[in-house]
């Protein structure tokens, strides 16, 4: 299935199911292609149809992919909620995919079960893009995060990258940390004790020789940190509401917090935010969270075009 040549990398016909399937060179090929899609809206995907199968709702991801497809002249069709699909009648995922492959050229799957995108990819000859499978993977989110880091800091190596907040349950953080092991950076993991990153990821960082440290204290961060990636801390993770309030405020970032750690950090967040980042920071020059959302469309345009094997003209 791998179509990696010796001198050029072709991603045509590949599935984008998990970041684990891609080498450093292939990741860079996605990012390099995305640069060419900044502001690009020629109808190169005219006549192509993206099947959007959302077995659980995710309005943002759905809109972002649909925008990317339509910007390039393609069309999207599908369902936004499993309640209106045949799965509600008990049809197997594999059967649904085999039926839908007759209606489109590339398939996007969002599903509450982990591994659903992998199973979908095995059930069809069409390329499959994972738009989130439970707590496992959401590869275009990771690609747009990498793209944003490179855009803001000019490189993907030799950076100090801090992850702050819920490092236990955040799929976004797990996937980005894992993918960053392809590069040479220093990672800081800041979280309450109860929301530490799972041991499996620590083991992987060790195995890949990544330099990292764990701390509960946000202010353990040095002023030369380049990226501050924050995530939502959800109340339902805390049986004790008092504990939640304490933790929530300990990791809230506002202008005073940034003044305290100093430096010129790039602030990232997968959105939607609750109150992890004060709105007063929205015009702070390093605030990159709305750029992430814009870059999402750019990266998805590149992904669609690469997997369909259609170049820019």
């Amino acid at each position: 299935m791998t179509s990696k040549g010796t001198d050029t990398i072709s991603l045509a016909g590949r599935d984008l199911v998990s970041m684990r399937d891609f080498s450093r060179e292939e990741l860079l090929a996605f990012l390099d292609a995305a640069e060419g899609f900044e502001g690009y809206d020629q109808p190169i995907l005219a006549g192509k149809i993206l099947g959007t199968l959302f077995f659980e709702p995710s309005t943002r991801t759905h809109l972002s992919f649909t925008a990317a497809m339509q910007r390039l002249g393609g069309q999207a069709l599908g369902f936004a909620d499993a309640k209106i699909s045949s799965t509600a009648k008990g049809e197997s995922l594999a059967d649904t995919i085999r039926v839908v492959e007759n209606y489109c050229d590339i398939i996007l799957v969002r599903h509450p079960l982990e591994g659903a995108a992998r199973l979908s990819a095995e059930s069809t000859r069409l390329p499959v893009i994972n738009a989130g499978d439970g707590t496992n993977q959401h590869p275009t989110q990771t690609l747009l995060d990498l793209y944003t880091i490179r855009q803001k800091r000019g490189r993907l190596d030799n950076l100090k990258i801090a992850f702050v907040g819920d490092l236990k349950y955040s799929r976004t953080v797990h996937s980005l940390i894992e993918t960053l092991t392809h590069f040479d950076n220093e990672i800081f993991l800041i979280s309450p004790q109860s929301l530490r990153i799972p041991a499996d990821f620590i083991e992987e960082l060790d195995a890949r020789g990544t330099i990292y440290s764990e701390d509960e204290d946000f202010f353990s961060l040095a002023s030369d940190v380049d990226i501050l990636y924050t995530t939502r801390i959800q109340q339902e993770r805390f049986p004790d509401p008092v504990e939640y309030e304490k933790v929530k405020n300990a990791y809230r970032i506002d202008r005073a917090t940034l003044d305290k750690i100093g430096g010129s950090v790039t602030l990232m967040h997968p959105l939607p935010r609750l109150n992890e980042i004060a709105t007063e920071l929205d015009d702070y020059p390093g605030a990159a969270y709305f750029d992430q959302a814009r870059n999402g469309v750019t990266v998805r345009k590149a992904v669609l075009s690469l997997l369909l094997g259609i170049d820019r003209v």
Partner: protein, 162 residues
Amino acid sequence: MQGEPTEPAASSGDMPLIKVSALRKGTVIDHLVAGTALKVLSILGIRFEGAVTIGLNLESGKVNRKDIIKIENREITPEEVSKIALVSPRATFSIIRDFNVVDKFKPALPPVIDNLIHCPNPSCVCNDSRVATRFKVERTDPLKVRCHYCERSLKKEEVELL
């Protein structure tokens, strides 16, 4: 291994403990971790054409205990050896023909293990009975496997066979 004299077949010195005649043709699986013989039999399935002799919790050396299985008229395949390696990595396998050991396998895990390990993640798509489980071996010693679907990893002590 030091201290043990030359080992002509998998049937080591303590074999006479089980009162069975020597195997003319078949397979001897020796040095199974004590308590795993029944699991190994379930891995091998019910396709037996001859006698099957099982020794449980036999003395092995001064301190250890082991299980042993002798299977008449069936030669174990390398694939089966790999599966058994999952539950008993130090087992030894001897293929017998005309009372002679003609082949010995060392356990080696295949890179991919299909339909043998249960994925403990309740929200993994492979828990749908229509989907066969698949695990990739990431490390053999100590064992670490990863579910092909949900991508969770399991260590040896977490591995549960179907």
